[in-house]
Point group: C2
Chain length 357, copies 2
């Protein structure tokens, strides 16, 4: 144990030990990364620092590196504050936990919001002047920047566990069983530092999300307290909002399915969030992916305005049930004009994919 | 066959006959019901007539008889047009497809919208002056009315089928099998005129909703066309919006469970539609009902603003899966602050009901 304020270190005995060290943001090992004006999006303290800089220094140009949900949310926040914002993304489209065709809708929404997208560009370093960042250097361009936000994902904070000899798994996340026990007796772990089990791929995976962390923490607590509870795993559900556009995904995306060696069919449909004649009916695009032959639902993705993306929960629940798309066609989903067309967009996508099974 | 314009009648032979006669609004057999100024909410033509009367005669006082979703939607529309609106409901609360404790939230929303509620009052007749309605007479009061809307529900329009000897079931709806065949060879039926199968009670029931009618019509069409498809049934999902408040239900309500002789436990929780600190987080109340002992999910009800009610689809999908509430506690539902608290309100309700199983 160590008191981080006084530096005092000591040994503390335990009966049961809980490792809840979370995740750390990935900082790229490139020149100039430690310059002033470059921030991760990690702690509340960093966020307060960024807001203080925005107020005091009134930077004009911001560059966000990384097009995942943290990067996108930061880009949105900066655009809304009136900055000129560029976003650097290595892949062809932002939000690469979606398939590229769905990610393209998010890219378009970002551009509509006024963000300049630099796709297929990879960070090489930073141009620094007087200790302060001046530009972001990619393999293709140099982008002027008064402020840089790093949104390059996180990795499990498992160094301490590794030192202690606790076996690690996927992406160096701590291996745990479904009771949240590590491989070492009386040591437990949960949250962004552990490996999870994917209920669709039936394989371990790494996910750093509050929903999963919360559920795992509860299970670890019950078991440490002498109870007996298990966490079966997750289906990879995530949701985000970029300006007016909601983005959600669950299950496996195309490349994950391909990596498993499965073959799949998919449908992508455009519908409305409400009856077409009802005021404020918004566009919604739903994609579903199902296993060829069996029709087992494998995943889904939704992009749309007006709360549309929360419909992903129907697909997530169906993944937990292990439904085939054929079994889903008659799901008794709710309809009234202010809430949905008479066939919910999710069911329209299901009907389309069934034709291809 | 009969041409309703010319009155000409003739016999028409058929190979396959489809009976799609729908439902008819219930008109009470009371004095004065045929007076001018009393309208059902049945056809588009009636709606156009009502709007024309509103524009031309500028009625001041409207009374809506019936607190189901048609009655409530009409009450909302009339209040928004500036009329003084009273609503007569026989039961203790409006929306009696919800349990009374949830219906009370809808009653409160109506009153907040400016509707005068006359609960536990039953229609006796109408006071008519010069052929025009002047007041609605209940067992407890006389309510002045320039305009009356009847929203007393519908019954299957099965008189023709009955005459033809086609067997009827629940509420005189036409009996059909899961291919939408009646008991008479080569006669099919679907929609608001047929009996449906309830996947939770495992018994026939009558439901007049566009979602179910649409699905049944598709199945009948496939089968009449020589294909082979079945409609397994519905779980009783319905949704409505009254002013800013969404109302939804699925599965069985308390009195339906009691009528089946099952015992149940329930939880009712109040949460927010978004993270509490996020702008426009709205109240949402979720009630879930589960079978005592087994924990099988039996039903759910949601009342809340801001699209909250559409979350009912998670519970509907879970009912199709036959989930116990214990199986639902780890549903990987989506979370981000603009969409949900980290534990979705549906999961909070599930956690609470599990404690009572």
């Amino acid at each position: 144990m160590q008191n981080l304020e006084t530096g005092k270190a000591w040994w503390e005995p335990y009966d049961q030990l809980m490792v809840a060290t979370g995740a750390v943001p990935i900082r790229p090992d490139v020149s100039g990364v430690d310059a002033e004006g470059i921030y991760g999006a990690d702690t509340i303290k960093t966020a307060i620092n960024i807001i203080e800089i925005l107020d005091r220094k009134q930077p004009e140009r911001a560059v966000v590196v990384g097009g995942g949900y943290i990067g996108l949310e930061m880009a949105e926040a900066l655009v809304l504050r009136g900055l000129k914002v560029s976003l650097v993304e290595q892949a062809g489209e932002v939000m690469n936990t979606l398939d590229a065709d769905m990610g393209a809708l998010v890219s378009a929404a970002l551009e509509e919001a006024g963000v300049t997208l630099c796709r297929r560009e990879s960070l090489q370093g930073f141009d620094v002047h007087n200790g302060h960042v001046k530009a972001v250097i990619t393999d293709k361009s140099e982008i002027l920047a008064d402020l840089v936000i790093l949104g390059m994902g996180v990795r499990p904070n498992s160094a301490l566990a590794k030192q202690a000899g606790i076996p690690l798994g996927k992406k160096d996340a701590i291996k745990v069983n479904d009771r949240m026990q590590t491989d070492i007796a009386n040591i437990w772990s949960a949250g962004d530092c552990v490996e999870s089990f994917h209920l669709v791929s039936k394989k371990p995976f790494y996910v750093a999300l509050g929903t999963v962390a919360n559920k795992q923490g509860r299970i670890a607590g019950i078991n440490i307290g002498g109870g007996n509870a298990t966490f079966p795993g997750a289906v990879g559900t995530a949701i985000s909002k970029i300006c007016e556009v909601g983005v959600a995904r669950t299950g496996l995306q195309a490349k994950e399915i391909e990596n498993l060696g499965l073959s799949y069919v998919s449908s992508k449909i455009k519908s409305k969030t409400r009856a077409g004649y009802y005021p404020d009916a918004q566009d919604i695009t739903v994609k579903v992916l199902a296993e060829s032959g069996s029709g087992r639902l494998l995943g889904g993705q939704i992009v749309g305005k007006g709360g549309a993306a929360k419909r992903i929960d129907v697909l997530a629940t169906a993944l937990h049930a292990g439904f085939t798309v054929q079994e889903m066609i008659h799901l008794d989903l709710s309809y009234a004009p202010p809430f949905s067309p008479v066939w919910d967009p999710v069911l329209i996508a299901i009907r389309q994919v069934i034709k291809k099974i």
